[in-house]
Symmetry: C2
Subunit: 199 residues, 2 copies
């Protein structure tokens, strides 16, 4: 039984489709939107439409951009010989925010997850290979996530790129800074010990 007015039910239904948003959160968000000033709600709706209208993929790195090529690929100060392969645009943003990488990216928009119907063909790996050759890339950091799918994806990419003679690497696994050993999972602890370095 549902006692909401029709337009409110529709909004709750649409919000429920978002990741991590269940029925209760959707209702809470919807009631909040009802209470928001009209202008604020309008801005949110507008922002959703704008993002769909203005964003496309950079023809070089496949990252989200409003202008092709994207600002990173256009930047003459980036190292052109380095490429960092990530699963999703959000991953590239995180690495970019760390300030630790100065090359360019390649966004796969997925990983190898055959159980979810994502095979190698969905990852534009031909385009990646083509880029490495045409742009004379000499180092590729395969920064897919340290998960089963991410590792499988990294392995596949290394198989494809190895014959080209480029230097391949993966980001180190270990304890996140600020972590508490007490609560760390055993696999991470093992990785951090295997990869231990001098003081």
């Amino acid at each position: 039984m549902n006692s909401y007015p029709e337009s409110l039910t529709e909004l709750v239904d649409q919000l429920k489709k978002l990741p991590g948003v269940g029925r209760k959160t959707a209702a809470r968000l919807a009631f909040h939107m009802v209470r928001m000033p009209d202008g604020e709600a309008g801005k949110l709706a507008e922002a959703i439409l704008e993002v769909k209208k203005r964003l496309s993929l950079c023809s070089f790195c496949q990252n989200l951009t409003e202008k092709d090529p994207c600002s990173i690929c256009r930047d003459p100060h980036r190292e052109v010989y380095q490429l960092c392969v990530v699963e999703y645009p959000a991953d590239a943003s995180s690495i970019e925010n760390s300030g630790a990488f100065h090359g360019r990216y390649f966004v796969l928009h997925g990983n190898l997850a055959p159980m979810q119907g994502q095979g190698p063909e969905s990852l534009r790996l031909e385009r990646l290979k083509e880029l490495v050759v045409s742009q004379q890339i000499s180092e590729v950091i395969i920064a897919t996530n340290p998960t089963v799918e991410g590792n499988a994806t990294a392995l596949l990419i290394s198989r494809i790129l190895e014959p080209l003679g480029v230097q391949l690497s993966r980001p180190a696994c270990g304890l996140p800074v600020g972590a508490d050993l007490e609560y760390m999972d055993p696999v991470t602890i093992r990785k951090s010990l295997d990869g231990r370095g001098p003081l």
Copy 2:
């Protein structure tokens, strides 16, 4: 430092204003919306605008409605002598979904929280008093939340309505059905023991 395209930053900023949505959740939702089919994102934006356009307050119960008076206040099968006072429209929905109440509602759109600048004048209590008199209401269930603010609000309402000679009550406090005594707070346990009943 922010490496998102402008329209994506704007969407993240708008989403961050929602309750319980921080920077990370906003980014996750935004990236999801980017990946959604255009039609789905459009439906969500449309639903937000529609809810703002179509919903208004019922002139009787102050609940959200698309048609004034609302479907509950228009329903001839509802008990007209009973009124249930709640803080927010979502509370009325929850009670309605329980199927345990057959009277009409009065929505305060808030509670008494002087520290947050919400005094009695924001709760339309004059309108409530007027309704109780004009509609010859004989029983008022004050279903504000069992919190400090909700209890204070209930007390204020009872002071206002007592002189009218209507029967006043509050929903019972006790253990929620399915609860585990081990994890229940002491105040709730005390309430449930104080209010114990025969088997």
